[in-house]
């Protein structure tokens, strides 16, 4: 296991020292809500396999104000995650070329958002189309 650098006592409270550090924690924290949502879908999948009664109970739970509230929070977290993920995308990829010219970071981020819109619309049409 590769070990991150040792945490020193002088680092204590580092997130209080700069707004960017707090945004960093917020971004990392968004993954907890994404995980909660993934586990919720997993519960739905398991109840679907268990049968109609279990699945309908899972579906009815969405009307519970607490469940609804957590979904709204997860939606905000997912949007924040998407914004930060696409913004960092150019840093995580090697320089891409198209016809001998380097694709600029701006183009890459725009391309990611276009893909996001296309996939969002596609998934909605597919799921609602398959359902109706």
């Amino acid at each position: 296991m590769s070990r991150p650098p040792v945490y020193r006592p002088s680092m204590r409270g580092w997130w209080q020292r700069h707004p960017a550090y707090r945004r960093y924690l917020l971004r990392e924290g968004s993954s907890a809500l994404l995980a909660a949502y993934a586990l919720w879908l997993l519960a739905g999948l398991v109840s679907l396999a268990a049968g109609e009664a279990a699945y309908e109970r899972w579906r009815e739970l969405h009307g519970n104000p607490w469940v609804f509230g957590v979904h709204l929070a997860a939606l905000l977290a997912a949007l924040y995650h998407a914004v930060t993920w696409f913004r960092l995308l150019p840093l995580t990829l090697p320089a891409l070329r198209w016809g001998g010219r380097r694709i600029t970071d701006r183009t890459l981020v725009r391309g990611a958002w276009l893909t996001y819109v296309a996939l969002s619309v596609g998934v909605w049409l597919y799921l609602l189309g398959g359902v109706r």
């Binding site: 993954s31 999948l45 679907l48 109609e52």
Partner: protein, 117 residues
């Protein structure tokens, strides 16, 4: 020096992060907001028969299970490293709790999908 197994972990993390960014908001809006709001108006969205028929298609089911898996993996990676950033003495135990639960979640998802066939 011991070889690091961080690169494959990071690839799974990256796949989960990309997927969550591309599809997360649309899916949460659909299953978490549209389903209950429609139900209140007497409209059934993602009903049992249709959803079962949809997810019993091997390609759709397996893709969903693997997607859930990589998103769980993504979260496990971020949570583990953030706990360390916050000064927690996270050793092997926490490592296994994070990544192990993501792996178990993936296996459960695959099992549930296979049970639909």
């Amino acid at each position: 020096m011991k070889r690091s197994h961080e690169p494959p972990l990071w690839l799974l993390f990256g796949a989960g992060g990309l997927l969550a960014a591309l599809l997360g908001p649309a899916l949460i809006l659909l299953t978490g907001v549209v389903v209950p709001v429609a139900a209140e108006r007497g409209v059934e969205v993602l009903g049992y028969e249709a959803t079962r028929e949809l997810l019993a298609r091997p390609l759709v089911g397996v893709l969903l299970a693997l997607s859930l898996g990589v998103v769980l993996w993504h979260a496990a990676h971020r949570i583990y490293h953030t706990l360390r950033d916050l000064g927690m003495r996270a050793g092997q135990g926490v490592w296994w709790a994070c990544y192990g639960s993501a792996a178990i979640g993936t296996l459960v998802a695959i099992g549930a999908v296979i049970a639909l066939w």
